[in-house]
């Protein structure tokens, strides 16, 4: 019997006892459906995190600061930490009153010379006093910039242009109403006034154009504040530093370094080690969100485990169904053997039947799972999760969906081997005996 005939025969045998087969398929369906939904949950949430990672920092960017003695400020057996004249008070980006060791131009040069570092850019920390649109009220905010490769998830307009000399910025969508605009589209093209105080306590006003409105996300670019272009960053930074000697100005709490976008995880780890050896600490965006992802993965794993248990229960259904059908078809098996069908082919016939049952159950389960998952996602996106635009709670990628079907088919095959082996071993004489 050739392979196609074998498959064809197995397929038609599958439906000889319809009720039994359909019930078994239903059991498989439940498992496959659950697995599809739980997997989709993992895919959806992780995809959202990945999108967010792309938004808050290009994947080839690392934030670097000077490594500090973990015990700084605490008395321990090694005694108090020594005073460091480079330590600067920084309430802009750290606990109030705590200090970080600033990066100096020398540090930037040292960083640039580290193997694997393509580009170093100091992070200019800017603290505006308030912002105001027209004659509206004044609001507090924070300011961030975009590093090469970073994107903004936009609700309207465009991202601030890196090349432009004009002062351009994005405001978060939550600011639109407060600033007095009708909607996101109305805000685009309007002027925003930024007040900033220099070291000599003089307040300056800088006007910039709102070129776009950014979506809110769990880790929005610019920490949920304004996203400004380089021209505006430089203007604000210079203004803020009026009255500070150049030497003092060039002190940065952190810097961004860029590395090869094609770097593997091992490359990134190696780069971090080199940074550590040189006295710096490097953190990628993935690191920052890594914990979050680990938790999601763990939850999905637990849910998947339940689905697999359901599948295992269903696979006993397959064992049972096939044992019954081997029992019922003893005569037929004996006859086929008498007619010269080998044991291997008989085994193939019954295990293929199991695989077909597994395939049907999983294909239907996955299909309906995807439909239901997509439905749930779109309903939730408009209601419960409206504050997290861009989040598709249950998403599917072709690979994991294929893997689910293949896994279920493999489980079904394993379940089928027991009855199939019994059929293959059946003695034709015993099967054909009567009287």
């Amino acid at each position: 019997m050739n392979v196609l005939d074998l498959i064809g025969t197995a397929a038609s045998n599958t439906f000889r006892s319809k009720t039994r087969t359909v019930l078994t398929i239903l059991a498989i369906f439940v498992g496959a459906f659950t697995l599809t939904i739980t997997n989709g949950l993992g895919t959806g949430i992780n995809r959202y995190i990945d999108d967010t990672v792309t938004a808050i920092g290009a994947e080839d960017v690392m934030t670097v600061s000077v490594s500090q003695d973990a015990n700084a400020g605490f008395a321990d057996s090694s005694g108090p930490a020594e005073y460091d004249p480079d330590a600067i008070a920084s309430d802009g980006f750290n606990r109030p009153g705590s200090t970080v060791v600033a990066l100096t131009p020398d540090d930037l040069e040292a960083l640039a010379s580290i193997d694997g570092v393509l580009d170093v850019e100091a992070t200019k920390s800017i603290s505006p006093d308030w912002i105001q649109a027209g004659d509206g009220p004044q609001y507090l905010t924070s300011v961030g910039g975009l590093v090469d490769g970073q994107t903004v998830q936009l609700a309207a307009g465009a991202a601030p242009s890196a090349d432009s000399d004009a002062f351009e910025l994005n405001v978060p969508i939550s600011y639109v109403e407060s600033l007095g605009f009708a909607d996101a589209d109305a805000a685009v093209g309007q002027t925003l006034t930024i007040a900033i105080t220099d070291a000599e306590r003089t307040q300056h006003l800088v006007d910039a154009t709102i070129v776009g409105v950014a979506e809110e996300s769990i880790a929005a670019t610019g920490a949920g504040g304004l996203v400004v272009n380089d021209a505006l960053t430089d203007e604000l930074y210079t203004t803020q530093n009026i009255g500070i000697s150049l030497d003092e100005q060039e002190r940065y709490a952190q810097a961004s370094i860029r590395f090869d976008a094609a770097a593997t995880d091992a490359d990134v780890t190696a780069l971090k080690e080199r940074l550590t050896d040189a006295g710096y600490t490097g953190t990628t965006v993935a690191d920052q969100l890594g914990t979050f992802k680990t938790i999601i993965d763990a939850i999905v794993l637990v849910l998947n485990a339940f689905a697999i248990i359901a599948l295992l229960a269903a696979s006993f259904g397959i064992v049972n169904t096939l044992f019954m059908s081997v029992q019922e078809r003893t005569r037929e098996i004996g006859l086929m053997k008498a007619m010269g069908m080998g044991g291997g082919k008989i085994f193939g016939l019954f295990s293929l039947e199991a695989v077909i049952i597994g395939f049907l159950g999983s294909a239907i389960g996955v299909g309906i799972g995807m439909l239901v998952g997509t439905g749930i996602s779109s309903v939730l996106a408009g209601a419960l999760l409206a504050d997290l635009p861009g989040l598709t709670l249950i998403a599917f990628d072709p690979l994991s969906v294929t893997v689910i079907i293949l896994v279920v088919m493999a489980i079904a095959f394993l379940a089928g081997t027991l009855p199939a082996a019994r059929a293959a071993k059946a003695d034709p004489v015993e099967s054909l005996r009567y009287e």
């Binding site: 037929e332 053997k337 008498a338 010269g340 034709p428």
Partner: protein
């Protein structure tokens, strides 16, 4: 002298072990020539079916040899054995052994499917065989819906569709009324006569046995009478 198609030499067959051991065949020796029609006759439990299973290579003898066209069948293993079964034998059983819920045509095609014959050829040959048995109009009926005589004719179509050298018939008329049974017998003997297919019939029906060229009587696992040898 030509090689007999089947040569049985001192065949023993026992079931079970130790105190439960039962000798179903206790040393049987005979030859069957190509084209013969042979009846194996004996009471119930005498060992007829056991002998037929040994001859049809469905069971190996405990001791002794069975030669198929001069080849010791104990040397046939795996694929070779399956090929020999598939190409050489056709079976007709008292209980028909048709798969109930598939069509007559599918049933008849089964041996060719096992042999790996292409589907189009399978169909053509199965229809031809059914035509020969005047059953072609029932080709697409489910086997379960046939009368006894129609079932047995379908079984014969299935037995001859692979052009076998030998047809084994175990009580082929046992489940049929006299008229239908006679009709089925006619068909089997016609195949034997016209196509030269060797016919080995297991029966306790004396009339059927009488129509065969030769009768082998068996009692308690021993060959008690062989008409050819008696005649010789």
């Amino acid at each position: 002298m030509t090689t007999p198609i089947i040569r049985v030499k001192d065949v023993h067959k026992s079931y079970g072990k130790g105190p439960n051991r039962f000798d179903a065949l206790k040393g049987v020796t005979f030859d069957i020539n190509e084209g013969e029609s042979v009846a194996i006759i004996g009471k119930s439990g005498s060992g007829k079916s056991t002998l037929m299973h040994v001859l049809a290579l469905l069971d190996a003898p405990t001791s002794g040899t069975v030669e198929l066209e001069g080849i010791d069948t104990s040397t046939l293993k795996g694929k070779k054995l399956n090929r020999a079964r598939n190409k050489t034998f056709g079976f007709v059983f008292q209980q028909f052994f048709l798969t109930a819920n598939i069509s007559v045509l599918e049933n008849v095609m089964l041996p060719m499917k096992i042999a790996g014959v292409r589907r189009s050829e399978r169909k053509a040959r199965a229809h031809a065989a059914l035509e020969q048995l005047e059953m072609d109009d029932k080709a697409s009926n489910k086997a379960v819906n046939l009368s006894g005589g129609q079932k047995q004719r379908s079984v014969i179509a299935r037995a001859l569709v692979n052009n076998p050298r030998i047809i084994f018939a175990d009580e082929p008329t046992g489940n049929l009324d006299t008229a239908t049974g006679g009709n089925v017998e006619d068909i089997l003997f016609a195949l034997n006569r016209d196509k030269g297919i060797t016919l080995i019939v297991v029966t306790h029906d004396d009339e059927l046995a009488a129509r065969c060229d030769r009768r082998i009587y068996i009692r308690d696992g021993l060959l008690v009478n062989d008409t050819t040898e008696v005649a010789a």
